[in-house]
């Protein structure tokens, strides 16, 4: 039982810290949910990648440092402590890349990963459909076999980042006659600018086009853009979803940094007693999340597979994130209408946090998973 990082990991931390201190933009970049912000974030990814910091835990041949899970956690702590920008390619890096590393071909990895690492190609996820959200297996968009590939038709929605992204990945029904809805699905990558694709940006609560609807009309996808065997998409996607909720979607570094910023805001506002407990809880929650992650990473590195416990994680961070931002807005608002101002980091973060309990599998579904798979309670009538 040890919480000290090795001297080599601490040297890695020092190297990351020095680079970030020198290079993190002194002014926050514009919101990445705007065209201007998207371009600025893409340029930042290129700068990170040029110095080898954009995907530190990836294999070196794809642009990473092959540095391992613990150093990834260390890097993330330093990254967010330095006040560095949010990551525009997070969908690609945390969802598609692990899938390709586990299930893709070497040709696919060599083609897709390096341009993802530099931000040259930004990826959107295309899971949800109008009738398939939490019940993802109900999806209807289809892929039909043609010479040399497939043709995609149908509709995807709530596609994060799709308003400005280049490419997308998602599941399509390739066999409509299977006995169970999660069979006969295929995992496909496609170009958002291909003929037949219409992207309709959707404004989220604050009006910014953080996601989009995708209308697909006979969109051709070559065989080399299918991941794994056709018909095996569900199994492949579920291994991705476990990753998403597990260790790599939300790093502790982000919450440690947010809690520190909240504490600084509170102190700056005269440390009002009325908010003390909420600020303390934000500090405690960030520490809990850090230590929970260290414990999970230690188990993973000791050879354990991480299973449904990632659902604990998802409910925790998504609700934590909202509570933290609500506290910040209340502190800002205590001296007038400042808590309403829409163009601050805190309000942007607040709007983003509100989506947490909804995406990546709603928290209700996660609680069902905790109850049924971790506590062993009987299944109910859902499914």
């Amino acid at each position: 039982m040890d919480l000290a990082h090795s001297p080599a990991d601490e040297a890695f931390r020092a190297e990351a810290r020095a680079w970030l201190r020198a290079r993190v933009p002194s002014e926050p970049l514009p919101s990445l949910e705007t065209a201007e912000g998207f371009a600025a974030h893409r340029a930042w990814e290129a700068e990170l990648a040029a110095a080898g910091w954009s995907v530190v835990n990836w294999p070196t041949r794809y642009g990473g440092r092959d540095c391992g899970l613990m150093r990834w956690l260390v890097f993330e702590e330093e990254y967010y402590a330095a006040g560095a920008p949010g990551r525009v390619n997070q969908n690609g890096v945390s969802l598609l890349a692990p899938t390709l590393l586990d299930h893709g071909t070497e040709e696919q990895r060599a083609r897709v990963l390096p341009s993802m690492a530099t931000g040259e190609v930004v990826w959107a996820q295309a899971w949800s459909e109008p009738e398939a959200g939490s019940d993802l297996a109900a999806l209807r968009a289809r892929a039909v076999r043609v010479a040399g590939g497939w043709r995609l038709s149908g509709e995807k929605t709530w596609s994060s980042r799709a308003a400005f992204a280049d490419r997308a990945f998602g599941l399509f029904r390739t066999d409509p006659d299977t006995p169970k809805p999660h069979q006969g699905l295929t995992y496909v990558m496609f170009d958002l600018r291909a003929p037949g694709v219409t992207v309709r940006p959707i404004g989220r609560l604050d009006g910014k086009p953080a996601f989009a609807e995708l209308f697909l009309d006979e969109v051709f996808v070559p065989d080399e853009d299918v991941i794994g065997e056709p018909g095996q998409g569900w199994r492949i996607a579920m291994s991705t979803a476990a990753n998403e909720r597990g260790l790599t979607l939300r790093s502790p570094g982000r919450f440690l940094s947010s809690a520190d910023r909240l504490h600084a805001l509170w102190a700056d506002r005269g440390s009002p007693e009325a908010a003390a407990a909420r600020v303390a809880d934000a500090l405690i929650g960030a520490r809990a999340y850090q230590l929970f992650t260290y414990a999970a990473a230690s188990r993973f590195l000791a050879g354990e597979r991480l299973g449904p416990e990632s659902s604990l994680n998802k409910v925790f961070w998504s609700e934590y994130d909202i509570a933290l931002h609500e506290t910040a807005l209340d502190l800002l608002g205590a001296q007038g209408a400042e808590g309403e101002a829409a163009d601050t980091d805190w309000s942007e973060g607040y709007v983003f946090s509100l989506a947490g309990p909804i995406y990546a599998g709603t928290n209700e579904i996660q609680r069902d998973i905790v109850a049924e798979r971790l506590l062993g309670l009987p299944r109910g009538r859902r499914r």
């Binding site: 039982m1 600020v279 303390a280 405690i284 000791a302 409910v315």
Partner: protein, 316 residues
């Protein structure tokens, strides 16, 4: 960095669990609540034989410690079985009695389980003052050996017998390290509360799996599942705080562990009571032994507000 219990620590927890499971602790707790101590004292000896109190006592005084991580592991199990007696207070006393004179005089007996200690600031209630051989008062001029105790008052948790310690007595340590004792007490309380919460969750999961209403187990209802899932989440995020605090022993980490484990246990207690329904509200059903302890531990050795203030001081 390897934030993981080793095989020996996991085996230690398993063996304590097995020993306590075989000991019929509910009967021991009920006797203890009535002031009948034979069963509790026998159990105390076996806990000491397993080395639990020795973990808080330095090797120089016939202990095995200080080993806060192992102590936390042990206290989770003591909480899971709702073991009665001044467990935390005995650990805190061991942390206080570090001057060679008092250490040599008292620590070997604490490590061996031959005596129990209780401890309170002057004028406050001390837990189990009637059972403890070593009654310590934190007075204005230092740590004193209280000459006796007043009448027993029932606690909200009947297994915690509250007594005021009589003033005066021998001055043992003029300048005791109360901060260190507080950290050890809070760590042990946090671990114990985590164990209490885990037991409440486990019992409630078992109950809702067999209690049938509307023709199905109530545990198949989403409203029930989600409350239990929330309890599980709270407990599983308190656990690493408790173990992490045992590693660092920093006042802020220990306070964070205390507030978080006690809140998780208390939330779980409320859920356990609600999901058991009326049977859970009775003293004759064993659940009450954990329900009342979760409430008592929440304010023992620092209220949630005290602990949150310590967390904020850690950032100042």
């Amino acid at each position: 960095m390897r934030f993981l219990l080793d095989a020996e620590q996991r085996e230690f927890a398993r063996s304590l669990d097995a020993m306590l499971s075989a000991a019929d602790t509910p009967a021991v707790i009920r006797d203890w609540s009535r002031g009948e101590r034979a069963g509790g004292l026998a159990l105390w000896s076996r806990i000491a034989e397993a080395g639990v109190f020795a973990l808080a006592v330095p090797e120089a005084y016939e202990g095995l410690g200080p080993r806060p991580v192992d102590l936390a592991v042990a206290f989770v199990e003591l909480g899971r079985h709702a073991v009665p007696g001044p467990l935390v207070e005995t650990v805190a006393a061991a942390a206080l009695l570090r001057d060679p004179g008092p250490a040599k005089r008292f620590l070997p007996a604490l490590a061996a389980g031959e005596s129990m200690a209780t401890l309170a600031p002057e004028g406050s209630y001390a837990v189990d003052g009637d059972a403890a051989a070593l009654r310590l008062t934190l007075a204005a001029d230092g740590l004193r050996l209280a000459p006796g105790h007043g009448p027993v008052r029932p606690s909200l948790d009947p297994a915690r017998r509250l007594t005021r310690l009589l003033p005066g007595g021998e001055l043992l340590v003029p300048d005791p390290s109360a901060d260190r004792a507080l950290r050890w007490a809070r760590l042990a309380t946090a671990a114990q509360a985590l164990g209490v919460g885990l037991a409440l969750l486990e019992r409630t999961v078992a109950y809702v799996g067999q209690r049938v209403q509307f023709g199905v187990p109530v545990g198949s209802f989403q409203a029930v599942k989600h409350r239990l899932a929330d309890a599980k989440i709270a407990l599983e995020f308190a656990r690493p705080l408790v173990l992490g605090a045992a590693v660092t022993m920093s006042p802020a980490d220990v306070a964070a562990a205390k507030v978080s484990a006690c809140e998780a246990a208390y939330t779980t207690a409320r859920t356990a009571l609600q999901l058991h329904g009326a049977i859970g509200y009775t003293a004759e059903y064993d659940l009450s032994l954990w329900l009342t302890k979760a409430r008592a531990l929440r304010t023992a050795w620092g209220t949630p507000d005290d602990c949150r203030a310590e967390v904020l001081r850690g950032r100042a």
